[in-house]
């Protein structure tokens, strides 16, 4: 996260600012990541029955595209576009002495907790009905 430049929101905003002075760094980060992950996934990981030290692969089995996916992604995009920060670089930056990172981290965790509580509440309602 640090080496790629993604821990600096200016690089992220620069990539998202398509009509301004475009900074392509993020594209190279994604490209570099996929260049490693994709072949490894299809050639090495997918043919395996199970992971090396666990019993099973914990991969989402959800198939269809629903409003939660679209809505959630849009809300994430809104937050990401506002500050140029997303979860990965935030965690990587926690020990680097930037107070704003901690503000973001704590409010992000608040968001997780709110949604988890909402989910539990909805599940309880379903199980009672």
């Amino acid at each position: 996260m640090a080496v790629s430049g993604m821990a600096n929101p200016a690089n992220v905003i620069g990539f998202l600012d398509i009509t301004g002075e475009w900074n392509p760094s993020l594209m190279f980060v994604m490209g570099g990541a996929l260049a490693v992950f994709m072949p490894m996934y299809f050639l090495v990981i997918k043919p395996q029955n199970q992971p090396l030290i666990s019993n099973e692969f914990c991969v989402s089995s959800k198939k269809h595209i629903d409003t939660k996916l679209i809505g959630g992604s849009a809300i994430f995009g809104l937050g990401w576009g506002l500050a140029g920060i997303c979860p990965g670089p935030v965690v990587a930056s926690l020990a680097l002495g930037n107070h704003a990172i901690w503000v973001f981290f704590l409010s992000m965790c608040a968001g997780f907790i709110i949604m988890t509580a909402k989910e539990r509440h909805e599940q309880q309602k379903l199980s009672v009905a």
């Binding site: 790629s4 994604m30 269809h64 959630g72 994430f76 990401w80 930037n98 409010s107």
Partner: protein
């Protein structure tokens, strides 16, 4: 057009890809940071230690990357703190609802050619770009 290839970005990305490969191959888990964190907060005993180890690794890695590679990590942001807080909340809510972020959907999901992740990534990229456009060029 691109005149200089940002090699550090490619390298950083490759490291992310390696990290995701290892976590999936060895532990069978998707390296989606929002998912790993929100699961950590649920504090379920059986599911806790790998998440904690990964987060510790990321924090340590961030320090190593910033110091050993003198990486581009600012100490302060230009964005006002109240906006950072709002953005954080939106990211927390959005990634939990949408079941992933740039690492989960963008790298691991697209890497597996998951239609859900491809669409999710398109949505959050488009929205984020629109927000940046409004903030930098319209307001």
């Amino acid at each position: 057009m691109i005149e200089v290839i940002p090699w550090h970005s490619l390298l950083g990305g490759a490291l992310l890809g390696l990290s995701a490969t290892l976590l999936l191959l060895v532990n069978g888990k998707i390296a989606g940071i929002s998912g790993i964190l929100s699961g950590l907060l649920k504090a379920e005993k059986s599911d806790f230690s790998w998440r904690l180890m990964f987060v510790i690794g990321m924090v340590a890695g961030g320090v190593w990357g910033a110091t050993a590679f003198s990486a581009d990590v600012p100490i302060q942001f230009e964005t006002p703190l109240w906006l950072v807080a709002v953005a954080g909340l939106l990211v927390g809510v959005g990634t939990k609802m949408g079941n992933g972020c740039t690492s989960g959907h963008g790298i691991c999901g697209i890497g597996r050619l998951s239609p859900r992740s491809i669409i999710a990534t398109c949505v959050f990229m488009t929205v984020a770009a629109a927000v940046v456009f409004v903030r930098l060029h319209l307001i």
